[in-house]
Subunit: 235 residues, 2 copies
Amino acid sequence: MEIQTKLKMEDLPLKKSIGKVVVLLSGGIDSTTLVYYMRDRGYKVYPISFYYGQKHKKELDFADLTCQKLNLSFKAFNINILRELAPSALTRKDIEVPKGIYNEETMKITVVPNRNMVFLALATAYAIGLGIREVAYAAHSGDHAIYADCRPAFIEAMRKTIELCDDSKVSLSTPFTLLDKSEIIKIGFNLGVDYSLTWSCYEGKELACGKCGTCRERLEAFEKLGKIDPIKYEG
Amino acid sequence: MEIQTKLKMEDLPLKKSIGKVVVLLSGGIDSTTLVYYMRDRGYKVYPISFYYGQKHKKELDFADLTCQKLNLSFKAFNINILRELAPSALTRKDIEVPKGIYNEETMKITVVPNRNMVFLALATAYAIGLGIREVAYAAHSGDHAIYADCRPAFIEAMRKTIELCDDSKVSLSTPFTLLDKSEIIKIGFNLGVDYSLTWSCYEGKELACGKCGTCRERLEAFEKLGKIDPIKYEG
């Protein structure tokens, strides 16, 4: 019997992982970083986005730009009925996006009811259809107080539900659960994320407003790292 | 102090429950019976249906007929992207609906990946938007082998996830989990369900085919009870 003592080049895996993963990509900082992160782990990444009537639909154009840059096939699906089903300041013209600090009281109106479950359910259907066994999304610690569907307890329950929904046993990855936005950006800088190709502002204007909760949160996260946010703001 | 010894009529609740519930209604036997059942429990019922590209979309017309009969406001939402996201014999013209007995091998192709999680996620969003704290669907024991997303383990995981997705703590009711179709029909007869206003056949033709898995299952369930299925079949 011949014992193999030395690996040849062709025996080595070319990548750290040969897995595929469907990643929920909004075009914002967290999910864009997640795409780079999973790619760095060796995954073939299938980003998926949703148009749900959000005022800041230009985030999808930015998601597309990142996918073009990384040569990933980008899928954006229309789930506009979410606006009809459940009202929110993010989707309804008659409800104003709140300005100022990102606190519980002012930001509650930006909750799109059950958005994450809807997106994850659809992303899982997409994964099953493609024969992919992993779905990832960029839940992080900054959202826990306001958004019930970003909290660890929800994520754990969702993980189990996704595993049970189909015999192919799809797994849910949420590597950023315990990180805050500045820690995510730090990872992103190490991975070469181009943050000029991201969009966070809840207003869908030409330039980011710099005043809404998500703009403030973004600016603070860059500031905390002593880095410059590369996008342009109003005024 | 005056002690109230006798309740007056106006002190009595008019209904067994004054709750509201969103019910997933497909227009088939199980979910139609569930609408009657929840109504009988005293709930104000908000039926919700989805068009997801199913060949048997006429089931939605039947759902509508039941709602008209019971004077319920019926909402049908278009979630056609499910067909694009994940292929199935139920939604794709190029995949034939299997004929004959409802066994695991032949029926696997009728699985619409993750359909129940998608529907329940959207129904929950709808409930949250309306301030309703309960969602019901008609999972039953007959579907367990083929459809992972009808099994008790999935339902329990989903129940927990729904409870955690929003601070309003929506609960999921699945009163038929342990019943088979003939037991559901038995309940339905006691509640006066008009089964001529239901549709089950996976083919979307003028008359039910009588040959596909769901037609066979339906016919067997009526036969087991010694009852006549009031709908018309081909041939």
